[in-house]
Symmetry: C2
DNA sequence: TAGTTTTGGTTTGCAACAAAACAAACAACG
DNA sequence: CGTTGTTTGTTTTGTTGCAAACCAAAACTA
């Protein structure tokens, strides 16, 4: 029961912190003049100069000529992320597809491959082999230094070690996905694994519909329903990293039984199979085309499709209202197939919020569709992989030039 | 859409941070030798010496003789919080009672008064007048400098300004409670208002059943059900501060209608009135005696009381399981009247967790009763009031001795 | 009483940022 | 086309705050 309040701070932790801040501004806001950096960081000009110099020396940023239309006064050189800076490998293991991408700082997707997948259980080793088959060439084809691998997975991931505790749609239990990936790529870089909805939230927070918001929830509709929560500007994790699993919020007392043992969970009522079933499409087909079929039918005015969407929208609204009551987010971002059906269910979600959310909480929330769409998970995986470097840019370049305090 | 990553850090922000850390260690862990402080903070001896010297000069701590049974080596003087250091006024506006206390650093309750209250709507001004009537003498009777007033209220509080948006049990809507209290006491100190469950969580985290845990949920049973959530060591707030309002999680599809417009909410199924009604006690009576009556009856083996407790336990278990799924806490702490009935409902909550919580999440959680009991809310209010001072001890003593950077 | 251990106190050194003074680069204006 | 004003980069100097090293002090141990 030792109380641990963390460590005291010494002067030499100031520098990494400030380096991190400058790098993160460039990472999120894009190229900025040195003058703009001094303004944003509220540091002095001399300090920003030394910080940029150090980042330049480390090969993370470059200073270019000032942007053309400058005002009066001496123009300030533009600082931007180096083209030959570090990259990460982002991997997305989804229900319907596998994707791999090379991503640089600033969310810059250098190359990308996506392949379809059968919607059936597969061994983890097979998936990893396939990932390596399509990802290997990408890695070989690019010269920039790889610093980490980030993996997004449709499943529940333990925070401490990245173990995939359960991934129902893949038929996995307790698969050490990170280790398998590291092994396959023979890479001596860290491999970080995250839940897809958590990573979607991360990506939307930084480059999507959650930019500038400290408190929002990302809701990801697939076969199941995943949730990723950002509170106070930081991902909600929980004791083991399972926080934000909102797929099993109860929405329909008379609903179908759920694999969690309950009945009428959000997941069973608004997962993709529920929509297809309601619309009279074979739910075992699944995938984007099946959903598109329903949407097209609805656009044509097909009665059954419209009714199906309305039904899903109703339950989704109830679920969103519950989530809003619990988390009090500023915004709810709908991703996965929810983004596709959003314009058909928007009104109903609004209605549910009006009738079921607590007045104070419901009034201040906004529901929108994902802005990153299919890219969200890959970008989130990249973000996960870049996180350590962004938190302490002195980790790069990798070869430690001097002894560093353990952390 | 300006991205704000906060400010860069300069060397002179290091000192306040380290002062804060030392003070918080003493605040939470009690008296510590200087040697122990160097160990915990991982700072050098010389730094700790100057930090303690500054805190001593500010009148926050004192150095006393070493504790008697010391080992070999030069004994290290014991540093403890100053007896004549700052105090706060803690106010608790509950359903059944009002309480006021003078609290020093370290959670030291110097004096305290509690009076019963009728369970009926009252004007905010009347409540505040009563608080002043019982709290004024306490303030007059103690010499230490008052630095803030903290108020716990059974209601939903807006974070930005402490406005009480709604307090159903008091019949309040949009009452500027903080302003009223400040006015009544004519005090020129800040008045901070917080939701009771949030403050209970804060108190349990620091001095109760949540000590040392980074992730836990405090569930407070009264007429309604409030929730306070600590995640990653910090209170969950949400966009407006309404986060953690778990009273309206759906637990019973066939339950009674709730004032929120839904039906079978956690609050309607396990609030105090639900227990009394199930046990055949007049629910309008309410209060501790009524609950005690049920508990005594159950202890005697009274069939109806036992069944009532089992019924409540069942719904509470379902609610807890839902909350556990969403937040993945390490522990759930039951406060308010839940603490009193805990030993009767323990098993059922465990059963519900087994059957309804997701395996990974449910396995790592523990449900316990509050350790602070009736003191929790007052201590939480005190903690709220002390928070600014603990975060930056240079705020004390109040008279600014030199210009300080705005922030 | 002498040796060992641990800590407090003091001095010295270093890292990092701020502030001030100066130089450079541009726009606007006459 | 030169002058003036504005803004920024650069260099120098000063300050803050922590660590490390050394010595002295205060206990225990034999």
């Amino acid at each position: 029961m030792e109380i641990d309040l963390g460590q005291g701070r010494s002067t030499d932790q100031v520098r990494p912190h400030n380096l991190s801040m400058v790098l993160r501004y460039l990472h999120l806001a894009g190229p900025l003049s040195r003058a703009a950096l001094t303004q944003r960081t509220e540091l002095s000009r001399s300090t920003v100069a030394t910080l940029v110099a150090e980042l330049t020396e480390r090969g993370l940023v470059v200073e270019g000529p000032p942007r053309s239309p400058s005002g009066p006064g001496r123009p300030s050189p533009e600082v931007r992320l180096a083209d030959d800076g570090p990259v990460v490998l982002a991997v997305e293991v989804g229900v319907d597809s596998l994707a791999v991408a090379i991503v640089g700082l600033g969310g810059d997707v250098r190359s990308q491959v996506r392949v379809d997948r059968e919607r059936s259980p597969v061994a983890a080793r097979e998936v990893v082999a396939e990932v390596h088959r399509i990802g290997g060439p990408l890695l070989d084809a690019q010269p920039a230094p790889l610093v980490a691998i980030g993996v997004s997975i449709v499943g529940v991931v333990r925070r401490t070690d990245g173990l995939v505790r359960i991934a129902p749609n893949l038929g996995w239990r307790d698969e050490p996905l990170g280790e398998l990936v590291a092994e396959a790529f023979g890479a001596d870089v860290p491999v970080l694994v995250g839940n897809d909805a958590d990573l979607g939230a991360l990506a939307e927070h930084q480059r999507g519909a959650g930019v500038g918001l400290d408190d929002f929830v990302f809701l990801c509709g697939e076969v199941g329903v995943g949730g990723g929560v950002i509170m106070d500007g930081r991902p909600l994790r929980g004791a083991d990293g399972y926080s934000g699993e909102v797929g099993h919020v109860a929405v329909n007392p008379d609903g179908r039984p759920c694999r969690c043992g309950s009945r009428g969970c959000l997941e069973t009522e608004v997962g993709e199979p529920a929509l297809l079933r309601a619309a009279g499409v074979d739910p075992t087909r699944g995938g984007r085309e099946a959903v598109d079929e329903v949407l097209h039918a609805a656009a044509r005015g097909d009665e059954r499709a419209v009714r199906a969407l309305r039904e899903i929208g109703g339950w989704l609204g109830i679920g969103v209202a519950g989530i809003v009551n619990i988390f009090n987010p500023r915004r709810v971002v709908l991703g996965g197939y929810f983004a596709d059906i959003f314009r058909y269910v928007d009104d109903q979600i609004g209605g549910a919020l009006n009738s079921r959310a607590l007045p104070a909480t419901g009034a201040s929330v906004e529901v929108v569709a994902s802005r990153l769409g299919a890219q969200a998970l890959l970008l989130g995986a990249a973000e996960l992989a870049f996180a350590p470097l962004l938190a302490d840019p002195t980790l790069f370049p990798g070869v430690p030039t001097e002894t560093r305090r353990a952390g």
